[in-house]
Amino acid sequence: MALVDISGLKVSFRQHGGDVTAVHDVSFKLNEGESLGIVGESGSGKSVTCLALMRLLASTAKVEADRLMLDDVNVMDASTGAMSALRGKSAAMIFQDPMTAFDPVFTIGQQIVETIRTHRKSSKRAALAEAEQMLLKVEIKNAKDVLSYYPHQLSGGMLQRAMIAMALSCQPKLLIADEPTTALDVTIQAQILQLIKSLQAELGMALIVITHDLGVVAETVDRVAVMYRGRVVEEGSVAEIFDNPQQAYTKSLLASLRAGEARQPDVESIDTAAPALELRGLSKTYRVRRRRRIMHEYLDFHAVRDVSLVLPRNKIVGLVGESGSGKSTTGMMAMRLTPPSSGEILVDGTDIGGLDGPALKQFRRRMQVVFQDSYSALDPVMTLAQIIAEPLHIHNLHTPKQQTEMALDWLERVGLDRSFGQRYPHELSGGQRQRVAIARALILGPSVLVADEPTSALDVSVKAQVIGLLKQLQQEMGLSMLFISHDLSVVRSLTDSVVVMYRGRVVEQAPTAQLFASPQHPYTRALLDAIPVTNPSLRRDRTFLTAEQIASATPRVSRSSIADALPGETPQLITIAPGHLVEAIVTH
């Protein structure tokens, strides 16, 4: 018997003005040990299909199916108890929005331990040790501390990895991974995918990976289903799909995948005006608790150390780096949403560090941000139209009617139907939410935008649309953007220069083309090396660098080759070419 047997699945949601059908007539089977990738457009029903399989949909959902079997249990009419028994054991799920998927008032450790103990007999202590092992496996380096962290203390990527650890700790027969690596940098993504594959082999686990990243598909799965507008439009082995796509949509997906070419840098205009945004020596220190026997001790955790960064007018600067390296924190500090421990923030040459009230509000109007976690960045009790129109409302622009009109226009510009205007955030797919957040940030026509992973949940087609939009705005309105992303191909095609962060520090900074052409820092090199393949036939085993290896490979430069640096054992940023900075140890 197949582990998963879905046939004729139809899911619709009750909505004002008629039900919306999210999934039509979806059928597929999956045997034990097999792996299936589901790719498709944002909002095409990928998540809904899997949630239906686990019977986790909201109660507004109406689920019909000829057959909906999981591990020989009919999901449609199993009892609540039988479903609880099934979940986690037969199938575990990695959710698309890891940042809202954790219970905010329990520590990560408690939540993983609880999972382990639900499924296996284990003492608290043993479970805690196992949880720590799992966290280490998903590349969370300070696993022991993270166990006692609460969800809000983790970065987006760390939460995603904790989510993965939690799902894997169930040791399920089937793992459903809904966009498991969107918040991860490519190095870690590659390690995680490898981990999942090895566990799959080890435990004979079946796998469903939902993703919009064909690279991930190419690397991990045997079969692929392509979804488009609520239907499976094409299904086949990885090779078949990649080599011989049938559907127009599939073809366009593959086409866009291969199109990731570096953009031509604009002619360097001599810019005399102050940069749009400048950060000088920003640092952020968090106090964290660490358990020490029965007592707790408080430690300083340096999330960001002495980061300086310049965002020139009308330019896009990419900020990339390891998950948890402090990118979001830097972005939040630049927006004055997180108070920096030290450093200055200059916008158009003005230090906004001390501004308050109306003065700050003036700057806010020109500076916008897209949050990494788009779900929790949307007020749950407001409709999308209200959310998108809110900036206009705050700054008292236009009449309420016009505000709504403009909000609906913006919905269309980010590829959503106007009817979404009266939906609430929880009624959207991951990618749809992200687009709403982008629309809100853009509606005021800002001159500075900090975009934290704005496209991580978007499939290539929508991503292209959004990026096109951003480029257009950059040209039309002189938008300058700090673009935080793990998606190196987007970074490559969109940004003018790139800043690489590693463990709270800037380790390299260069014009985009130059960085991709000749990366200098070992971490940058590792990062570029880890970009997933675009063709399943090119799969390869990778080797990863440990932190020690990276540290020991830090470039050493002799003092003679650079002008103003003092020699010392601590690495420092030095300029090695015009606009190309790298962290290195300066020797005599």
């Binding site: 003005g17 507008r229 239907r231 003036q362 949050f371 929790s376 960045a377 749950p380 705050i394 809100r440």
Partner: protein, 298 residues
């Protein structure tokens, strides 16, 4: 083989943009208990307003002294009280006083409690310190003592009762809103609003209070019976609503003396109070659910 064209759109066909209030109303109307509560409440309010039309007799005239304490009958639906007044009429007119006191006190405790709680929760620090001391002050002074002083200053009566009920009723609402707001303050969507340049007051009004609507509604509903009972208690201190103006609280107090035999004297005012509160509860629950979009359709 499917083609792109026959793929259905995941959107409803006809589309008109509606305001969230419209949906809240629809959700509310779909909740039968809540609508029922609302209707009962409306009837009570209308009955209080149009009391003279519903009963011909005067609530203070002792027109039926011969039949005093008579049990309910066709002529006197709720019987006659100890002073020969038609009890139904008394209950009707009592609604005027009691509903006004109950709702005014509840409204005031929300009007005072919600902004203060939101300020304390949002700003924390000195603001919170100051408001917390204020809360402590009002929760340690027994309402009785406060009432006596206020009574001495104002001579008592209707306004004093509302003032006392409001002064001592807002603390609970305030604490809950403070807790809720300080929990929400760190949420991303609040930060998002900050990033848009929203003023603290705007954030409180547009985001934090709508997200705290449940404790506010519950607090509102709970303060109604408390205010009505306070009114009953205060009338003994000489600063209640002076007789012969009927109020339910007072009627319950008097009715207690008669409960062993003349049950109607205690039953009807208590029932009137209970029905009011129950109706308000159901109405409030419905409102709460209607305002919470995640409950949609359940």
């Amino acid at each position: 083989m499917t083609t792109e064209t026959d793929v259905a759109l995941a959107v409803p066909p006809a589309y008109v943009q509606r305001s969230p209030a419209y949906f809240a109303l629809r959700r509310f109307l779909a909740n039968r208990a809540a609508v029922g509560g609302g209707i009962v409440l409306l009837i009570l309010i209308l009955a209080a307003i149009f009391a003279p039309l519903l009963s011909k007799s005067d609530p203070t005239a002792q027109a039926f002294l011969k039949d005093s304490l008579a049990f309910p009958s066709a002529e006197h639906w709720f019987g006659v009280d100890d002073l020969g007044r038609d009890f139904f009429t008394r209950i009707l007119y009592g609604a005027r006083v009691s509903l006004t006191i109950g709702f005014a006190a509840a409204a005031f405790s929300v009007l005072i409690g919600v902004p203060l709680g939101a300020l304390a929760g949002y700003f924390g620090g000195k603001t919170d310190w100051f408001i917390m001391r204020l809360i402590e002050l009002f929760s340690v002074v027994p309402p009785l003592l406060g009432a006596m002083l206020l009574g001495a200053l104002t001579g008592g009566g209707f306004v004093t009762i509302i003032a006392v009920a409001a002064l001592f009723g807002w603390v609970g609402v305030c604490l809950l809103v403070r807790a809720q707001v300080s929990a929400f303050r760190e949420k991303e969507f609040v930060r998002a609003a900050q990033a848009l340049g929203a003023s603290p007051w705007y954030i409180i009004r547009r985001h934090l209070i709508p997200n705290s609507v449940s404790p506010i509604i519950v607090g509102f509903v709970l303060s109604i019976p408390l205010a009505m009972m306070l009114e009953a208690g205060l009338s003994f201190l000489g600063i209640g609503v002076p007789p012969p103006t009927p109020s339910w609280g007072q009627m319950i107090n008097v009715g207690m003396n008669f409960v062993f035999f003349y049950w109607h004297m205690a039953l009807f005012p208590t029932a009137a109070l209970a029905i009011t509160v129950l109706a308000t509860t159901l109405f409030g629950d419905g409102l709460r659910d209607a305002l919470d979009p995640t409950q949609k359709g359940r």
